[in-house]
């Protein structure tokens, strides 16, 4: 798989070449060229901010269509905890789980169940690695990608435990093979995702060779089908109890939930990509001391704020709180459900990808940066975005990298035209005299 895969795509026909996405992108990964947005994939962390801001809905996340389920004989749905927060008056998460079965899935495996195991593993990991505090959560793939390209000093603080969805996929596949006797390729493990980052992480895994997830559906895409299904079964008595998680597991759906599962107060939880970047800067400069754990979520509110969700994230958090009320603290944990095994940890190192570096060596970088400064002096410093780059500095760097030219700046072109028309006028005046 490509080193720099992203699930975020542009629908060219809808793009008008405005500057909304280039300005919003937290890693400056987008440029407008020839009136169309272009994603520089090596900079993209799949956060989905461009999808959120695009007024013409030209930015999309790829995901698998419902029809692709048909290629499997046995289908297991993996609902993300944020899914429960999309519906009104659920009463219990079990209704959603049964709703998924009613929709045509053969089995369900709660990601929140696997999350409780990850919580237990994390508690243990923190206890055993006190020399590397604070440890940073790796549940949000956007954060891990961001650290990989921009905060190399923090790579050693990442918790090398696989994400709840990958753990759920592994366990669900095992269970399906045991229950059905089918060969693994006939079993479809289907994640219902709140965000493009999880789609990217399945197609191009972080820390592991391959995810056991076969298909990723978008929450938004299955919402109406699932709503119909819920209505069909809501008055049924004796629904089978399919739940695997308690308070700890479903709380992972909102910011602070994962940290809450550590049963310690010595943590920090930040959400929203700009806030997260500020925290990472401070962490890198060792300004945040005496903390054990840092939970970071790219979306406002946590996963309930994912760009593929339907409900307002603040309301969604209220709904999770209501659902939690009558739940036990946890249902799946290391002790009563499963033993710790090596596959629950990363098997691949996370490498620093220095995508922001200008030159191939120090001399080259120095010369290129000097050139950037010289070019910058010609620009007005308005950061207007009309050139297709998010700032004057970004355009100057693009020019030095050979990807743009000074004439992309409309202010430079305008001054040139002014001067030209003046020259012509003077020339004419001379002739007349």
């Amino acid at each position: 798989m490509d080193n720099f895969y992203t699930a975020v795509r542009l629908e060219e026909g809808l793009c008008r070449g405005c500057i909304n996405c280039i300005k919003r992108c937290p890693t400056q990964a987008i440029r407008v060229r020839n009136s169309k947005a272009v994603i520089k994939t090596e900079f993209c962390i799949s956060c989905g901010e461009c999808i959120r801001i695009c007024p013409y809905h030209a930015k999309k996340s790829i995901f698998d269509p419902l029809a692709s389920l048909n290629q499997f004989d046995y289908k297991v749905a993996l609902p993300a905890p944020s899914l429960y927060a999309q519906f009104n008056n659920l009463g219990s998460t079990n209704l959603v789980l049964n709703g998924l079965i009613n929709m045509g899935f053969d089995d369900v495996f709660e990601v929140s169940g696997a999350a409780e195991i990850v919580s237990a593993l994390t508690r243990k990991y923190i206890k055993e690695h006190r020399d590397r505090l604070p440890l940073i959560s790796t549940a949000c793939p956007t954060i891990t990608r961001l650290i990989q390209i921009r905060f190399p000093n923090l790579i050693e603080n990442l918790i090398p435990i696989i994400s709840p969805v990958d753990l759920a996929a592994h366990l669900a596949k095992e269970r399906a093979i045991n229950n059905t006797g089918l060969s693994p390729d006939k079993i479809g493990i289907v994640f219902i995702s709140p965000c493009p980052a999880k789609v990217s992480a399945v197609k191009n895994p972080i820390g592991i060779e391959k995810s056991d997830v076969n298909l990723v559906l978008s929450m938004e895409n299955i919402y109406s089908r699932l709503l119909v299904s819920l209505n069909e079964i809501k008055n049924k008595d004796n629904l089978e109890d399919l739940t695997m998680s308690g308070k700890i597991g479903i709380s992972w759906g909102g910011s602070g939930g994962e940290a809450g599962g550590l049963l310690s107060d010595n943590y920090l939880a930040a959400d929203g990509i700009e806030n997260v970047i500020r925290i990472l800067e401070d962490l890198e400069d060792e300004k945040l001391r005496d903390l054990e754990f840092i939970e970071l979520n790219a979306c406002n509110g946590g996963c309930v704020g994912g760009v593929l969700t339907v409900e307002n994230p603040f309301l969604a958090k209220v709904k999770i709180k209501r659902l939690r009320k009558n739940m036990p603290l946890e249902k799946s944990s290391l002790t009563n459900y499963i033993e710790e095994e090596p596959y629950m940890y990363w098997s691949k190192e996370i490498e620093y990808k220095p995508v922001y570096q200008l030159g191939g060596n120090m001399h080259e970088s120095i010369n290129m940066l000097r050139e950037v400064e010289t070019i910058l002096e010609k620009f007005p410093g308005l950061d207007c975005g009309s050139c297709g780059a998010p700032s004057c500095r970004a355009l100057a760097e693009d020019i030095v990298r050979g990807q743009a030219s000074e004439n992309n700046c409309i202010h430079i072109v305008r001054d040139y035209i002014h001067k030209l028309s003046e020259d012509i006028y003077l020339l004419d005046a001379k002739k007349i005299n």
């Binding site: 000093n153 800067e281 400069d285 940066l369 760097e397």
Partner: protein, 141 residues
């Protein structure tokens, strides 16, 4: 030094806590565009931040000049006073002349200069009461 270097320059305003740290973040941003090892970027950023904060807390204002060269990074911090009375004492961990107010803000733990010394390869201080302070820090690449 001639042409093969980058020169970054910053004005430091006394007691401007809202902007304190801007020089260090900007230098970090620039270094990440260059082929400087991540742990060196971190060392420079932390040492410079400590120096910058010292200037904001103790000095009457000054300038920071950073020179990035192929083989080393030099940071020159120069302020206009009030100067350090006893440099040896100031280099001791935990020694601070910061006021109660500054300490309540979470600064003034007496770790500034010791931390700067720890993170750079060479640190030189010239100061005296009423003379201002000149600090040169070098990090070898």
């Amino acid at each position: 030094m001639l042409n093969d270097h980058i020169h970054l320059s910053y004005e430091i305003v006394s007691e401007d806590f809202a902007r304190a740290g801007e020089a260090a973040s900007d230098v970090k941003r620039v270094l990440k565009k260059m082929n400087v090892k991540p742990d060196i970027v971190r060392k420079v950023a932390i040492a410079l931040y400590e120096g910058e904060i010292n200037m904001v807390i103790h000095s009457l204002g000054g300038t920071i000049d950073v020179y990035i060269m192929p083989n080393e990074i030099q940071m020159k911090l120069e302020d206009i006073g009030p100067g350090i009375e006893d440099i040896d004492k100031a280099m001791e961990e935990g020694y601070s002349t910061a006021s109660e107010t500054i300490r309540n803000m979470g600064f003034g733990a007496g770790m500034g200069l010791p931390n700067m010394k720890r993170y750079v390869d060479d640190l030189d201080i010239k100061s005296g009461l009423g003379q201002g302070t000149r600090i040169t820090m070098r990090v070898i690449l």
